[in-house]
């Protein structure tokens, strides 16, 4: 219990240190851009294929239920709302936690093992500002964008699945998908992924940056990053959904 509380305290302080360093010069824009392209562009195949597959599966499941009530016209709307409100943000965050979180943990831990972090410090460069802050900022910016992409791929997957069964025209699918969808169903859930991005960036960087167990620790940092990030993203989701309901009562489906 004591170790757990100490970990929570350490990660919180680490996160505060990240926030305190975000606006401090030098801004590390080049490194941030490079991390964004690494995390964003390279995560696209995973996010898009998962979105398409989930879209297809979601439609298959909802169709069998809605057919029983004669409400197949609602399939596009159920599809869009479920992706915008929960599936898109949460699944995108968990995928990024797996791919990017493990990468950040392992890369920074490897830099520690091979003395590259010491070399950065020796060259009078702030290693925390240079390595950690750009990665966290990149996660915060990239995750909402990936979520939008996941939502779009989910709708496309849902459309293909529905088209295969009912030959529903794409225009009608889109009209039904966005019927009754409010901005509050889309914007707050998408923006909450910025918080998930911060958690993934900060926690995985923490594991990598504070690792001191040699090469064995590199794998450990990667594994711990994925497990802890996934868990914290799910826990944060519960809290953020409640906050969104309080701030935007209309967003409740």
């Amino acid at each position: 219990m004591r170790r757990f509380l100490q970990f929570i305290g350490d990660v919180t302080l680490f996160g505060i240190r990240v926030m305190a360093n975000v606006c401090r010069r030098p801004l590390e824009l080049g490194e941030t851009w490079s991390q964004m392209s690494e995390m964003g562009v390279r995560s696209l195949p995973l996010v898009s294929s998962s979105g398409l597959a989930l879209g297809v599966v979601m439609t298959l499941h909802t169709r069998s239920t809605l057919v029983a009530f004669g409400a197949t016209a609602l399939i596009p709307r159920v599809q869009s709302l479920s992706f915008f409100v929960e599936i898109g943000p949460l699944v995108a965050a968990l995928l990024v936690a797996g791919r990017v979180g493990a990468g950040i943990g392992a890369v920074i831990a490897n830099l520690r093992v091979t003395e590259q972090i010491d070399a950065i410090e020796v060259l009078s460069v702030d290693s925390f500002k240079f390595l950690v802050v750009p990665r966290v900022i990149a996660c915060v910016i990239v995750l909402p964008l990936l979520t939008v992409f996941m939502d779009a791929c989910g709708l496309v997957g849902g459309f293909f699945s529905e088209f295969a069964v009912s030959h529903l025209p794409p225009k009608l699918f889109l009209e039904r998908a966005f019927q009754g969808v409010e901005w509050s169903n889309f914007v707050p859930p998408t923006l909450k992924t910025a918080v998930f991005g911060f958690i993934i960036g900060a926690v995985s960087s923490y594991y990598g940056y504070t690792m001191n167990e040699g090469t064995h620790g590199v794998g450990k940092a990667a594994t711990n990053s994925v497990v802890t990030c996934s868990l914290l993203v799910i826990l944060a989701d519960v809290i953020l959904v409640k906050i969104i309901f309080l701030l935007f009562p209309g967003s409740a489906i």
């Binding site: 030098p26 091979t114 590259q116 010491d118 070399a119 020796v122 060259l123 009078s124 460069v125």
Partner: protein
């Protein structure tokens, strides 16, 4: 001959513990400007720890370390960064940034710590690479370089800001005799041309005798001998005699 010159490196009663293990115990010596001191000792006697203390990567439990007038052991943050600009450090593994090309490895400190233009930086980097015979390799990643090339690149990076003091950790480690000798030649050239003060931790007595003006011998965290190689050959301690003897 050396005592008349001002000291560029001073260790004054430096001690360091890790847990219950005393790694360094009241180590004191000074290195006059332009002199090279080679630190010898058995593995685990605190040689590398001493270098890390000298660059401020870790703090001593007691004592002071002065490098180019800066009390490294008491500095933090920006002041420590400013002091480090005067110190070059060659890591045992070279510690090149593996995601950067060779050019970017050398250009990084110049971009971050100087106001030099892009063309000036390009000129300095090419000159530094030429000095260590790595011209034409600037676009390669460290993973594409041999051990000797990586070490030479690490040396070029350590020297790119023209430091007053160069700290070197095991320059010949993992290298064959000829390549190790090439690194020693580069260190000698640097000392002769720029009067750079050097503290070199090494196990290679042959190289140490070529580059070092004096030897400092550590044993169980204590400085047990300091002097010219010839003087130490007849030292009362058998450990010292064995460590300074040529194979």
């Amino acid at each position: 001959m050396t005592e008349s010159r001002p000291a560029a490196v001073v260790l004054d009663g430096v001690s360091k513990c890790f847990g219950s293990k005393q790694v360094l115990s009241r180590v004191s010596f000074s290195v006059p400007r332009g002199e090279a001191v080679c630190v010898l000792g058995r593995s685990g006697t605190g040689k590398s720890v001493m270098l890390r203390l000298m660059i401020g990567l870790i703090k001593p439990d007691a004592g002071d370390i002065f490098i180019s007038g800066y009390n490294i052991s008491r500095l933090e943050g920006k002041e420590l960064s400013r002091a480090r600009c005067k110190i070059g450090f060659l890591f045992q593994s070279a510690a090149l940034f593996d995601s950067f090309t060779l050019y970017d490895n050398l250009a990084l400190p110049l971009r971050r710590l100087t106001d030099k233009s892009k063309s000036e930086i390009e000129g300095i980097v090419h000159q530094a690479l030429n000095q260590v015979a790595l011209t034409g390799e600037e676009n390669k990643l460290p993973s594409a370089l041999s051990g000797g090339m990586r070490k030479r690149a690490g040396l070029a990076r350590a020297l790119v800001l023209e430091p007053d003091v160069l700290l070197v950790d095991e320059p010949s480690s993992g290298l064959d005799r000829i390549t190790a000798s090439e690194i020693d030649d580069l260190l000698l050239e640097q000392k002769a041309m720029h009067q750079t003060t050097m503290v070199i931790v090494t196990h290679d007595v042959h190289g140490a005798r070529r580059v070092g003006d004096r030897f400092a011998v550590l044993d169980q965290g204590k400085l047990i001998a300091l002097g010219k190689p010839q003087e130490l050959e007849n030292h009362e301690s058998e450990t010292v005699r064995k460590l300074v003897a040529e194979e």
